[in-house]
Structure formats: C-alpha cells, structure tokens
Symmetry: C2
C-alpha cells in the first residue's frame, strides 16, 4: 500500500514510519518539523520506499493535496499535543488539530483517497466517572482545549465518513511512552535528575494515576487496522492497568541509579485542565486480536533507556 503519514517526524509518527517501511509499504511522511525531528527518520530515509516532505497542514494545502496523489491511506497523527500550554496559546489547538484535520480530509476528497486512520485521545472523556472508560460512555464534557480540539477533529472525521467520503478508524490513545518520547514527565524528570540527582520537583502530589502504552504496541494497533475498510470505527488504545506518578518516579530513579529527595507542588492535578486519570477500557480493540507486549513499567523503562542513550535530546533545542 501507499501510505501517507502526517506528523511523520514525531515520536509516534517516526516509529510508525519505520514499522510501515519494514512491512514493505510505500510511505510518504509529512511534517512541518515544528516539534518533529528529522533525525528520527534517519533509518527510514535510507529506504527507497520512503519519501519525506516538509509541509504545514494549515498553510501548505496545495502541497498537502499533491502529497496525497495515488495514496491508499492516510494516517493522520500531526497535532499540537502539549496539553499544558493550552491557555497561553488557546488558538493553537484549534488550528493545528481541527483546521489541519479538515484540510487533510478535503485533500483526501480531492485525491479520492478513501482510508483515514486518526489519532485522538482519552482526554476527550474529560473527568469521566466511568473508569476504565469504554468508547460508548456517556457524552462527556470537555475539560481541556486539547480534548476540545480532538473531539472536534473526531467529529469532522466521522462526519466525512458518515457522508461516505472516507472510511475512518479513530484511535483514542492513553499517554504513549517509549523510544523517541521527547516531552512530558519522563523526559522532564530525567532532565532534572541529570542536572541535580539530589532533588526532583513534582507537579501535583504524585498520586495522579496514569496509564501508559508503549509506542510499539500503539503502532501495532494502528497497522493492524490499515487494510480494514469500515465505515467508521472507534477504538480506545491503552494497557490494562495503571501506575501513579510516584511509582513511575521510582522506576525512573532506580533505572538511573539515583535517590533524589522529592518536592511536591501539591493538589491532585499537575496543571489546569490536566485529566487526573485517563484509564481506558480496551475490550473493543482486544476483540480484534490486538494485545500489548509491554507493561507500563517496561514502557517507562524503555523511555529512560532511550533518553540515556541519546543525551543530546535532553538539551534544549536551538531556537526553542
């Protein structure tokens, strides 16, 4: 198949590209490189089957459309994914997550590309009282700009599908960890501990529960639905189980061989609009035969291993 991946130079995108190229698909990777890193595509760029195009899904709609010519499927991962800074730049999520998604859908209509796989988030369940949360839980209220933008994008994807323009698979992710993970609390902790192995400041009270999926399990779920042609299907993606931030800190510090004193900012949330606990019911995706290979602890440890092997990622990026 000829597959277009948006956000190809990102954490999940680059892992996905490697998997697709390894499975002998022709892959066109798109990324505006605002947070993606070309070095994540080093392996892929050695392959004839892979082509990279730097473009922005909001601004470069003509280049987007021409990139989709002859494609069999689009896996749309590109997004502004940093939930924490939503209120400093409240329009960014709307542009990068909603407008960009409609641009992808319109480019697909123009090129008659039928198949879209879309990465949404468990954040759209807000503060659901039903945990683990199934896909068909009660209509939730949005609690973050990120969740609002993703539920909006999902709405567009499914509306295009229901009208017959595309065949859509929507994945709602828990937090993903693993090789090439370059934002969020694991890298923050590793970075802090490298500067000061004696002291680790923690947002919230450390009791926040989190459910993490390893990126290779995430990628396996996405590729498992590539050749299917549903009208619309929606799958939660996550692991059976959860950890606390405190547990995850223990695994990280053990792995690094340090014993810092912890200071807590307090409260049960790390930031405004943070979901205190996203834990998804994954019965539906498991019924297709998909299963996880890594535990939460392994996902955390694999992330630490990768960061230790790539200390250059711990430095602030030039210009950022």
């Amino acid at each position: 198949m000829r597959v277009v991946v948006t956000g190809a130079a990102g954490f999940i995108g680059s892992n996905l590209v490697d998997a697709l190229v390894g499975a002998d698909h022709d892959v066109v990777g798109l990324d505006n490189l605002s947070t993606g890193r070309l070095e994540f595509l080093e392996q892929a760029l050695q392959h004839e089957r892979f082509e990279f195009r730097k473009l922005d899904l909001v601004d470069d709609t003509d280049a987007l459309t021409s990139s989709l010519e002859r494609a069999d499927a689009v896996i749309h991962l590109a997004a502004n994914a940093d939930v924490r800074f939503g209120w400093d730049a409240p329009r960014r999520d709307l542009e990068q997550n909603v407008v960009a998604t409609q641009n992808v859908l319109e480019a697909m209509r123009a090129c008659e590309v039928r198949r879209i796989l879309f990465s949404s988030t468990g954040s759209i369940y807000g503060d659901s009282a039903c945990v683990p949360t199934p896909e068909d839980v009660s209509f939730p209220l949005q609690t973050s700009l990120y969740g609002a933008s993703k539920v909006a994008a999902e709405g567009y994807v499914t509306a295009y599908a229901e009208a017959g323009h595309v065949s859509a698979t929507v994945f709602r992710f828990v937090s993903i960890l693993g090789p090439r993970y370059t934002h969020g609390h694991v890298i923050d902790f590793v970075r802090h501990l490298r500067r000061d192995p004696e002291l680790l400041p923690v947002l919230g009270d450390g009791s926040q529960r989190k459910s993490y999926l390893d990126v290779s399990d995430c990628v396996a779920a996405i590729t498992s639905r590539l050749a299917v042609e549903p009208r619309v299907e929606v799958f939660n993606l996550g692991v059976d189980g959860f950890c606390t931030v405190n547990q995850s800190i223990r695994w990280i510090t053990e792995k690094l061989g340090v014993s810092p004193r912890l200071t807590f900012s307090g409260g049960d949330r790390g930031w405004v609009g943070d979901n205190p606990f996203i834990y998804l019911d994954t019965t539906r995706i498991r019924a297709t035969g998909w299963t996880t290979r890594y535990t939460i602890r392994e996902a955390v440890e694999r992330t630490v291993d990768f960061l230790v092997a790539h200390p250059e990622l711990l430095d602030p990026r030039p210009g950022s």
Copy 2:
C-alpha cells in the same frame, strides 16, 4: 443586566432581543447581516436600551472585544445553521461555528465577562439509537458537518468553563419554528405553494419525523437561565412529541387553503447528513420549571401566519 446577543438579527436572535429589551435588560446586538435581517430588529431599535453593531465574529475580533466591555452575559447564537449545503462549502461551519465561538470566548476572557449561554443542536446526537435522546446518552458519532462544528464549539465552551474562565449554559435545540423563521421546509413549502398551489415537491418520502419547538418557548428557556451561574450545565430544548413532514404539510396546506398534489424525491432522508429524526428528552430543563406554551402544530401554524403576513420574505433576497 447588560447582555450581548450574537446573531441578534437572526430568527431566534431577534426574538430573544425583543424579550430581553422587554424585560428591561440593556442589550447589545451583534450580527454580520449575512443571513440576519435588520428589519427583524425594527422594534428593538426604537428602544434606548438596545444598541446594534454590525460585525463579523471571525474577522472583526477587535470590535467584538470592545462590544463585550461591561457586559454581564453573552448569549452566543450566531452560526452557520444551514445543514443542507455543508458539503458545498465544508469550511464554512468550522469558521462560523467553531472559530467564531472561540473568538467570543477569548473576547470574554479579555473583558472578564463570566456568563455565556450557547446555542447548540440536537444534530450532535447523530443517529442516536436512544430516542427521545437525553443529554447524557452514549458518546455519539457525528453525521453532519453542522453537528461536527457544534460539538466542537460545545467542547470549547465547556473547556473554558471547566478551566474557570466562564460560567456556561449549553442548549441543544431541536428545530425551532415561529415568527421570523426564514429558512427550512416551512418557508420552502409556502414559497412553492404561492407559485404553484397545485403541486408540492417534497425531499425524502415525507415520513421523516421532526420535533419542532416554538421560538417563544426557546427564548423563554434561554432567559430563564440568564441569572443562574453554574460551572457548566447542558440542556436539551424541545417539545414532548413529534410530527411527520407529511403532517406538517397537511397543517400548512390547510392553513393556506390549498390542496396540492405531492411528489416525493424518495428515501428516508432529505439530504446528505440530514438527521432522520431528532427528538430530545427534555426532562432536565423541565425540572427547572420551564415548560412549552405551544404545540408543534401551533408552532407550524404560527410560522405560516407570519409568512403570510410578510410575503416580502418569500421573495429571494437581492444579491442572494
């Protein structure tokens, strides 16, 4: 109270403005007059308490912000509401319904206006299997661009509310009828019957069930929540009961004293993405004391009466 109404020159907006001015509120009406009609505000414009400002919520954000100064509440009705033409101009809903809503929310943040009442739609329930549909039904899939844009806008309104920036009431409307209703099937039918009282072409097979609320009942529900200050509340607005398009045609033709032959385009939907049946469970809003004064039949008949009294509205508008 000083109340800002967006979409003030529209069907619901102008009825709401009249009610607010009549209840001694100071009202600022905003409208870009793309579909609104200044003549609907003739009464209101006689009042000192009412001020009209022509501006576009997408393009004129500075004027929007200055319009919200000293306001106590914003009732945000402005929207692109024509579901049928969504696929000819797929970006219009996103701009007019989502971007415009975030612009209103940002203007409120800038002016420290706390209270927002927002008009959403029963279309966001898609093809719900649960009828009459309650507010907390299973997470629905969107089936129209209009529904997708409104669920997106709702998501932003509730995210701003959950973050403490605003106090929000979201109303999900069934179709609204009554004086000043100038699009949709009633005006289409009256217009056709004036040209040709012998023949009436009907989209679909006429069996489509519809639940209509009279605009004065809709306005009464909105004003009843004006002085409340919830974090977030969501209410369905509709009548207990429904009619078929065929019944509604009978009421219209009886009222007009004509007996046309009916031709049906066939199928159970009038247009791509049309919801075959929106019938909402209104237990929640009724529990606040609100109730309907008009039946569906009365709402249809009041619409016909108004159109007969204002035949100029049946003519295509200059330039449109």
